[in-house]
């Protein structure tokens, strides 16, 4: 091997070792790296997790109920397979509404519902002006493309 080839092999070896180490760590931490459980993942767990967890999914259409004026809210988070009900009192983000993706942080209650301490809205990857939204809805292309 020439010196150049040696240096190349050294650097390639270091990169491969680092990639392998990081890959192993990340796959071992799989569930810890994920930011939230989906309702299906939550239902599939052997024992209900204790402590604070995060649940992500869509706010089910027609499930949002305000109790006690506007300060307390109940809704259902769904991934279209499983559903989890959520209770929350506090400020909701601007994007919160039915059909919207949300991430809810809180503790599981005895009844399997989630007592939320924080509600975050998840934004999707679509960016468009309001006129385009209107046009898509009028042409009936809205549902199949964006699901809301």
């Amino acid at each position: 091997m020439t010196k150049k080839q040696k240096r190349f092999a050294f650097l390639a070896g270091i990169f491969a070792a680092a990639a392998l180490a990081v890959g192993l760590v990340l796959s071992a931490l799989e569930s810890a790296v994920a930011y939230f459980y989906t309702p299906s993942e939550l239902a599939a767990l052997d024992s209900a997790p204790k402590g604070v967890i995060r649940l992500g999914g869509l706010v089910e259409d027609g499930s949002v109920q305000y109790t006690d004026g506007k300060t307390e809210v109940q809704f259902v988070v769904t991934d279209l397979t499983a559903r989890t009900s959520v209770r929350y009192s506090g400020a909701l983000p601007d994007l919160f509404r039915e059909g919207q993706g949300v991430v809810v942080e809180g503790r599981l209650a005895e009844d399997g519902g989630l007592a939320a301490m924080q509600v975050l809205a998840k934004h999707d990857e679509n960016y468009m002006p309001r006129e385009l939204e209107k046009a898509l809805k009028e042409q009936g292309h809205w549902k199949d493309q964006y699901g809301k």
Partner: protein
Amino acid sequence: MISDLANPERFERLVRPVQPALAAISLLLAAAGLYYALFASPPDYQQGESVRIMYVHVPASWMALFCYSVIAISSATGFIWKHPLADVTAKATAPIGAVFTALALFTGSIWGKPMWGAWWAWDARLTSVLILFFLYLGYMAIWETVEDKSRAARLAAVVAIVGFVNIPIIHFSVDWWNSLHQPASIFRPEGPTVAPSMLAPLFLMALAYTTGYGALVLAAMKNELIARRLQRLRDVAGRKASTVEVK
């Protein structure tokens, strides 16, 4: 071309007209891009006016990844082939990339508060970009602390290559794990999910950042070459002075 540039003096002669031209183009593009982004583009159907943060945030994130890739590739070139300008390129790129990363983190945070409802979340995308920021700082710290510059170059190159593992993780973090951050809107197999009237200011800003990086990195490289020449002259002068004393 690349081997022509190996001669620092030829490099300086090439840079002299190119650097100010790039700076001027970048400023013009940024002026047009910012006007388009802040006034002439439509509000988003969900985010309203907050979407305008995206035109500063998204290209800054691209540049954060791009600059780190430049560092990794030129570090490897310098390490393996001893190209005289490679480690100068890597060193000069680091602070620029760090600023782009900080800008991406900052603008993401002020977008996150009204849209998500949180300034920060420890999800895979946000955390891996924060790690990228620390990688930049660590890379720069090596150049500052290691006295012998050729040793510093080798050490920094190894760190840059190890840190390069993070770049694909950042890009794919939103696909590999459940995350709060939205998935990619532009670099996705099915094509962009951004309306054309919003793509135009986005690409203008991306071009402004890229040419701005070009102007800054060329200026920084020129300064680094001058600093190195000055150091060599000082070393020679110091050696002469000490031989005189011995007499």
